[in-house]
Subunit: 260 residues, 2 copies
DNA sequence: CACCGTGTTCCGTAATACGCAACGGAGGTT
DNA sequence: AACCTCCGTTGCGTATTACGGAACACGGTG
């Protein structure tokens, strides 16, 4: 499902594209051996071996011990630093996330709009986090997450319609797949200034998000809290929304945007 | 100075190697145009263009607006998440850095030993940071940094000697380049449990570091504070060392290592 | 309006990365 | 302990692939 040759763009460099595919595979799987990588990319073992070793020479890939599977390497941090240097949300969002996560005891995320998906740029786990999953860098569907709804609700109308006209994939039993219903929810989101997500992405997972405003009053990101359904009850939402709003304002200020 | 062809390893994939060089260049410079990249790598503009666009298609590179210079792209966060998921120092070090940076008002770094250099894996800027430089992912010489001295002092004797026998590059007027003197300093570092760096890396820059211990009592990282010489005076050192020690213990605990 | 500096596109060439197959090493199994 | 199997690496020959050259397109500027 990764990259079937849908008429490869002639201007793209094949081996580089494959190398990035290797990195993406490792990021997704955590680790993988040469044979597995070769199979996944649909290339010969020798090719995979050479690609991996080239990346290893640059420390973008490393292997457990002498003869183990490969992982993403430490050298990648060089670039992570470079991207966080530009993306204010990341640099400044970390502390904000951490603080709020400590206070709520739930996992807190900051996400930005990236094309047709919500991209998590920062995260802090709550003290009572059950599964310690890392969402940083993960893309999540806009219609099935609280952050996504907030970002989508703030997007220009044509952008919104373009997405609504596409297929709304069902991620969990309660995912909103009806465009009409989603349109209504987005309107409510814009009015209320927050969005919830009740088992729409994953069974048993609730979340709630509020927008983060930029200097011109536009929505530049969303900050959300997520946790197990039994803990993030409907009743607790107003309290959490208020906490999120405080964090959101804090974030705006730290990013140098005048408070409204 | 980047990559002169010192008999390119035949098993390496040239274009992938070049692509990574592009990324490293962007990480270093912040941004660059096609022509500049081509010149720096010593390749033709057309080659550089293709490499960059391949990376852009995967969102590892993005450009400012429609016709601007190129930067490291958001897609890189995918990998950043993957590496931080494995490297405990990064995941857990962030909050610790932030807290200490807030308290001291100086920039705090966590570094690990990576071959012959100290690799900064986490950073938080102090409130009064003058230059907001990002050191995450940066490699710094072991003999000219406080973290480096701490890490080196804890390294096995043969490793230490190997490095001392190599050339000690002079980074600033006061860099220690004499192996005999450095050997003495390292012994002192091991005894004292901290190391300083007074304008040895950069004129006007002082720093001080303490070790971070792993579960078996071995040194796994170093945590350091850095700032302008006039602010990090010799007199203030004991106080800062004490703060660093607290943070170091905190870090060890958070990483699940039993306190000694 | 012509000029310079961008970056992109087309094209022919040969360098380059590919797939193949054989090799070498570890671990596990009988 | 010898066998076997699985994994990764190395040489090798081929043709795919990426490269460099030059011309082109696009803006900004004098």
């Amino acid at each position: 499902m990764s990259n079937s040759e849908v008429a490869r763009d002639k201007t793209l460099v094949q081996s580089v594209d494959r190398a990035v595919a290797v990195l993406e595979l490792l990021a997704r799987n955590g680790e993988a051996g040469i044979t597995e990588i070769a199979a996944e990319l649909g290339v010969h073992k020798s090719s995979a071996s050479r690609l991996v070793h080239t990346l290893q020479a640059r420390e973008l890939v490393e292997q457990e011990g002498e003869r183990g599977p490969f992982r993403i390497g430490i050298g990648m941090l060089r670039f992570a630093g470079a991207v966080t240097g530009q993306l204010d949300y990341v640099r400044v969002g970390g502390p904000v996330c951490t603080e709020l996560a400590d206070r709520l005891g739930e996992t807190v995320n900051i996400a930005v709009l990236d094309g047709d998906v919500a991209l998590n740029v920062s995260q802090a786990r709550g003290s009572s986090a059950v599964a310690a999953q890392n969402w940083v860098g993960q893309r999540t569907p806009l219609h099935a997450t609280s952050s996504g709804k907030v970002l989508l609700a703030a997007a220009p109308a044509d952008e919104q319609e373009r997405l609504l006209s596409g297929e709304l994939e069902s991620c969990a039993p309660r995912t909103i797949t009806d465009p009409v219903k989603l349109r209504y929810v987005l309107r409510r989101t814009a009015e209320d200034g927050f969005a919830t997500c009740m088992e729409e992405l994953e069974a048993g997972l609730h979340a709630v998000a509020v927008p983060v405003f930029g200097s011109r009053g536009d929505v530049v990101a969303a900050i959300s809290a997520a946790g197990p359904a039994y803990r993030l009850s409907q009743k607790r939402m107003p309290e959490i929304v208020e906490e999120l709003r405080v964090a959101s304002r804090d974030l705006s200020v730290r990013m140098g945007h005048p408070v409204l």
